[in-house]
């Protein structure tokens, strides 16, 4: 029995859903409302002491850390394999899967919060907002988040996030030029699943011009990703329709501001 505790728009959770659908294993979905602070409830913290999504529970055993969960699923359900058979390619896959977590997870919040999540959080009542802030154990993270909520894309953290995101897109483009197919070689792997939510995020925000402007290989890769049967259920069907619509509308309004940041930095 597999249960995934997740949230529709969490990039780390999305990568695990992609792996589950790629493997076509049945699983039970439990949504943790991270924008309402549900991840801080004691029963959830007992499962996942970092108070983050996702958590996979397999036959009552919790497995945490999205990159570890993906490898676990490939260990337990080896067919179809989502790690390259060539071991050097596999090492490349692991570096990509881990770099995405390390460098891009916080950055993704930096481009999303100013456009959308910020407006969701600002809808909370003063008591709910306080509870949301109080739930954060990491003071630096809380301070960053407050700046994003209060200043939007004009927050220094947001501008930094936009530029790091741009370098990430270039890195993806360069890697695809090297392999000619998928991120870690000739076959689709966990590395591709790990990177997918970051493109979906831009897609949902209506920032498609960001990669289409100058990154043809990445555009082609993303089209191939979207054509896979795992894409629709893992990335789209799970999102509440209103959330998707709000994200698209709000994002469209912000794209000129994001493009200005890129132009100011001389990378557009």
């Amino acid at each position: 029995m597999l249960t995934l505790y997740h949230f529709p728009s969490s990039v780390c959770a999305a990568k695990v859903r992609l792996v589950l659908y790629e493997k076509e294993v049945p699983w039970e979905s439990k949504i943790i409302e991270i924008l309402k602070g549900e991840q801080f409830q004691p029963w959830y913290v007992a499962l996942n002491p970092n108070a983050v999504v996702p958590t996979l529970v397999h036959d009552e055993q919790p497995v945490v850390e999205s990159a570890v969960i993906c490898e676990y699923l490939d260990d337990v359900f080896p067919d179809p394999p989502l790690r390259p058979a060539d071991l050097v390619d596999r090492s490349v896959m692991r570096i990509w899967a881990s770099d995405v977590d390390t460098y891009m997870n916080g950055i993704c919040a930096g481009i999303t919060y100013p456009a959308t999540h910020r407006h969701e959080v600002l809808k909370l009542s003063p008591e709910e907002l306080q509870r949301f802030y109080d739930g954060h154990t990491d003071k630096d993270k809380l301070a960053r988040r407050k700046r994003l909520i209060e200043q939007g894309y004009q927050a220094p953290d947001a501008k930094h996030a936009v530029l790091v995101y741009d370098r990430f897109l270039t890195k993806l483009e360069d890697q695809l030029a090297k392999t000619g197919a998928w991120l870690a070689g000739k076959t689709y792997s966990i590395a591709d699943a790990a990177a997918t939510p970051y493109l979906v995020r831009l897609d949902m925000l209506n920032y498609q011009e960001w990669w289409r402007h100058s990154r043809p290989r990445l555009d082609d890769w993303y089209e191939r990703i979207k054509a896979r049967p795992s894409f629709q259920p893992a990335m789209i069907d799970v999102m509440p329709a209103k959330f998707m619509a709000d994200m698209g509308t709000r994002g469209s309004g912000y794209w000129p501001e994001v493009r200005e940041i890129l132009k100011d930095a001389g990378v557009w």
Partner: protein
């Protein structure tokens, strides 16, 4: 044919050597002199664009990142398995290894640089030193290192590094009170990945960090030291002169480090770290 580009005193190099020795795989070593900036040479950047050690080159193909190299070796040389057969335990092992990267690896530089590396770099001519810093791809790390050169442990950043390192040692203590090895009851990559971070403290003569404070860590480290692979991969590989220099500098630095440790918050079963260990 296996070649490891490494440095004798680098814990991330030591982990890979430890795995190679545990598996009794034949390998050739190529030392990258980090104190002279050899990691920034064009030849090295061609196999490791991040300019860090170690890099393993197997039949001409480079493999990077110590943790990834260890998993690579585990799969390429499956005899003498170092990953638990139970897949859920293997997942816990991977979480532990990821935590080392997240917490220990990043706080290592700030913990040992003010004691040792800065004295090595101080031997460079001012112009060479400027070149060394200019070569850093990571500007922030370069700035931090400059601060450690001049301020030593008085730099707030070095202080935070020591406290993070200490917290991880406390987490080990907590975990080792519950299982024989760091993850479960058999020796695994989790122990291998962690051991060099304690080994480097011993090189610096910082044993008092755990000798009285952390009895489970002490007992675990004794078991680690009894392994012949650890001795050859982590201990014997350090040249005598370097060992002597590091020990001398470390002994001088220890009071400053101990003063920082004394300010650490107590670690109890309610801290998120302990809860995490508990859940595992």
């Amino acid at each position: 044919m296996l070649t490891l580009y490494h440095h004798p005193a680098s814990p991330s190099s030591a982990k890979v050597r430890f795995v190679l020795q545990e598996k009794s795989v034949a390998w050739e070593g190529a030392i990258v002199d980090l104190y002279r900036g050899e990691q920034f040479s064009a030849a090295y950047l061609a196999i490791n664009e991040a300019a860090v050690v170690p890099t393993l080159v197997h039949d001409g193909r480079p493999v990077r990142e110590s943790l990834v190299i260890c998993e690579y070796l585990e799969e390429a040389f499956p005899e003498t398995p170092l990953a638990p057969a139970d897949l859920a335990v293997r997942a816990r092992m991977r979480v532990w290894c990821k935590d080392i990267e997240t917490f220990m690896s990043v706080s290592l530089a700030g913990t040992i640089f003010p004691a040792n590396d800065r004295h090595e770099l101080a031997k460079l001519a001012p112009k060479q030193l400027d070149t060394y810093f200019e070569h850093h791809l990571n500007r922030r790390l370069a700035e931090r290192r400059r601060a450690w050169m001049t301020e030593g442990y008085a730099s707030p950043d070095a202080r935070n590094s020591v406290l993070t390192y200490h917290k991880f040692l406390q987490k080990m203590e907590f975990q080792l009170g519950r299982s024989e090895w760091l993850v479960g009851n058999s020796f695994s990559l989790a122990d291998i990945e962690t051991a060099p971070y304690v080994g480097v403290l011993e090189l610096l003569q910082f044993q008092n960090w755990w000798a009285d404070r952390l009895p489970h860590v002490r007992a675990w480290y004794e078991k680690i030291k009894a392994r012949p692979a650890f001795r050859s991969a982590v201990v014997d590989v350090v040249p005598d002169q370097l060992r002597h220099d590091i020990a001398k500098r470390g002994a001088e630095a220890w009071p400053a480090v101990e003063a920082i440790i004394a300010t650490a918050e107590p670690f109890n079963g309610k801290s998120p770290w302990a809860m995490r260990a508990e859940a595992l």
